[in-house]
């Protein structure tokens, strides 16, 4: 659906996007994660034809987006990170305006707008002036606007940024709906955990480059070739550590208060052997768990922030 090859964007001498490659298949929800200034918005604007690329190729649904950007605009729904609204329009007039831009027939317009307002939960605000909506509502309205021409590819630039937790949850629910509707979505954020649960794939971008990309579980494996286990004991911490050290597949043991963390490079049977050993030697084990690597840790590890840790 979306294919980016060797994309470069220079602002003067500064490389905002530096040889970026990306591929998103139909129906995928691709999380575009990176710290502020990584080049997410720049990349998205280039895809939408709002910014010229310095070099590289972008194709949307098989169409060369850089050369024929008027042909791909129908296919893309874009929601910018920062946007404004017309202060003197009502909610349904606002959507009506964009609907008429896309030449949606008068007969279908009413229904399309109603359906969209329903989808973003703004049905009750139809007659309110756009300017009087809360930030979260404006954000949802802008999302509805980006959907008005029923695009197959959605490009959402930090749709949850600046929202309070409640509004974030609402936004997430809507995105889940869109996912079920079969839209292909490219969504960005500078917070990885925000995207992890809802995305099928993730690409981490830093300094204009994709550092790592793949399905969520692929990324986890790539970063943690070994699993992590976490053991909480009520007592006898040192004794437990000694026992653990007897196993060759356990390494890098770290301890906290009544807490042990260790790298673990074995199968499920090995895991039960460890637990068995601890229990038979009367260690009061409170919890024994395998950790899914923390996504934020992954993020920090692959972007610059991780190097300092």
């Amino acid at each position: 659906m979306l294919e980016i090859r060797n994309l470069h964007k220079k602002y003067g001498r500064f490389n905002a996007v530096n040889d970026l490659n990306l591929s998103i298949k139909e129906g995928e929800i691709f999380g575009f994660v990176g710290p502020n200034g990584a080049g997410k918005s720049t990349t998205m604007k280039i895809i939408c034809g709002l910014l010229p690329a310095t070099s590289g190729e972008v194709s949307v649904d098989g169409v060369d987006a850089l050369r024929h950007n008027n042909k791909i605009k129908e296919k893309i729904g874009y929601m910018p990170d920062f946007f404004g609204v017309y202060d003197d329009l009502k909610v349904d007039e606002y959507l009506d305006f964009y609907a008429s831009i896309y030449k949606i027939k008068e007969a279908n317009k009413r229904k399309t707008i109603s359906d969209l307002l329903e989808l973003v939960d703004l049905g009750h605000k139809r007659d309110a002036y756009v300017d009087n909506l809360s930030r979260g509502m404006k954000q949802r309205l802008c999302l509805a606007r980006s959907l008005i021409h029923n695009p197959r590819l959605l490009i959402l630039d930090e749709p949850a940024s600046g929202l309070d937790p409640r509004a974030r949850v609402e936004m997430k629910a809507i995105l889940k709906n869109l996912k079920d509707m079969g839209k292909t979505i490219l969504i960005s954020s500078h917070i990885l955990s925000e995207l992890a649960e809802m995305c099928t794939s993730i690409g981490v971008i830093d300094n204009g480059k994709i550092v790592i990309s793949g399905t969520v579980s692929e990324i986890m494996q790539q970063i943690y070739s070994k699993k992590l286990i976490k053991i909480k004991v009520n007592d006898k911490l040192e004794e437990a550590v000694l026992i653990l050290k007897e196993f060759p597949f356990i390494e890098k043991i770290t301890t906290g208060e009544n807490l042990i963390q260790a790298g673990f490079d074995g199968g499920d049977e090995d895991m039960s052997r460890v637990l068995n050993a601890l229990v038979t030697r009367a260690i009061p084990v409170a919890t024994f768990a395998q950790l899914d690597g923390n996504l934020e840790d992954v993020f920090m590890k692959v972007t610059k922030g991780g190097e300092e840790r």
């Binding site: 920062f82 946007f83 896309y102």
Partner: protein
């Protein structure tokens, strides 16, 4: 044909606001005040049934001049913020990412402002019809006048749109538009005076070419042609501002050439504006191809 959606939206919004009512009201007030002043100045009995062409030509000229000046003032103000305002409000990208062609955005913005001017002109029709009733003015003259108004407004509006796309802030675009307007209206006169004095010593028997971009010159030429030289007197002190009746110009009347030049300026300005707001504009050639 589908009506330009930008135009449609702007009209809806503008006509709803009190600002529009205020502008039309204020505008009519100024025109009416001028008409009354002329009436008293001519000490004409408005209720007498005698036909008085002298009065009607005076009133016509007065209203026409004031209205022209008002239009020259208002047209740039309406358009200078058209695109820069969208940029400031962060709504421009939302327009540009749709399949709306850049030229549609530019033309929609211009037409929206022009519809405003058109309303002002239409609002003044009753006043002209009173003048009309006194005789001496024909429908042809009023049509020429309104035509010249509209073309001048489009020209001034296009310059506003042009600066609105090339400059980021509305304020800067407005200042630049008026600056260029002042140059066209008065700068050209200064150049004409100095140039003709030095090289021709006032002996220049033609319409100075720079005046083809001067709306005031074109307008004077129009009024002079309509009513003979009687209002050309003071203007003839400006060298190079020769009206059709002076017999110095052959062929087309200067105001008609001004009209064509205005149209050409508008087309060029709008073309450049549309090219500028297209974020991924390629060469001039690729832009032509897209049209």
């Amino acid at each position: 044909m589908i009506i330009n959606p930008v135009l449609l939206k702007e009209i809806k919004v503008k006509m709803r606001s009190w600002k529009a009512v205020g502008i039309i009201g204020g505008y009519l007030f100024v025109l009416a005040a001028v008409a009354l002043f002329i009436t008293y100045a001519n000490s004409v009995d408005m209720y007498s049934s005698t036909i008085n062409p002298q009065f009607s030509i005076g009133a016509y000229t007065g209203i026409a001049v004031i209205q022209f000046i008002l239009i020259l003032f208002i047209a740039p103000a309406l358009t200078a913020g058209a695109v820069a305002g969208e940029r400031e409000r962060q709504t421009l990208d939302l327009l540009l990412c749709t399949n709306l062609a850049p030229r549609s955005i530019v033309i929609g913005k211009l037409l929206a402002s022009m519809s405003h001017i058109l309303i002002l002109i239409i609002a003044s029709v009753p006043m002209f019809s009173i003048v009309f009733l006194y005789g001496g003015i024909s429908i042809v003259e009023i049509s020429q006048l309104f035509g010249f108004y509209i073309v001048t407004a489009i020209m001034a509006g296009s310059i506003g749109i042009f600066f609105s796309t090339y400059v980021k802030r509305t304020i800067a675009a407005t200042v630049l538009t008026y600056a260029l307007g002042i140059f066209m209206c008065f700068g050209t006169i200064f150049i004409a005076v100095f140039y003709l004095r030095i090289f021709y010593n006032f002996d220049y028997q033609n319409y100075f070419p720079l005046f083809y971009i001067n709306p005031l010159a074109g307008f004077s030429s129009l009024l002079t042609e309509q009513f003979g030289g009687q209002y050309g007197g003071i203007l003839n002190m400006i060298p190079g501002l020769y009206m059709v009746n002076n017999g110095a110009t052959k062929g087309m009347a200067p105001w008609l050439i001004n009209t064509y030049v205005n149209i050409a300026i508008s087309v060029i300005m709008l073309f450049l504006a549309a090219m500028k707001i297209n974020p991924v504009r390629g060469s001039l050639f690729s832009f032509l191809k897209k049209r």
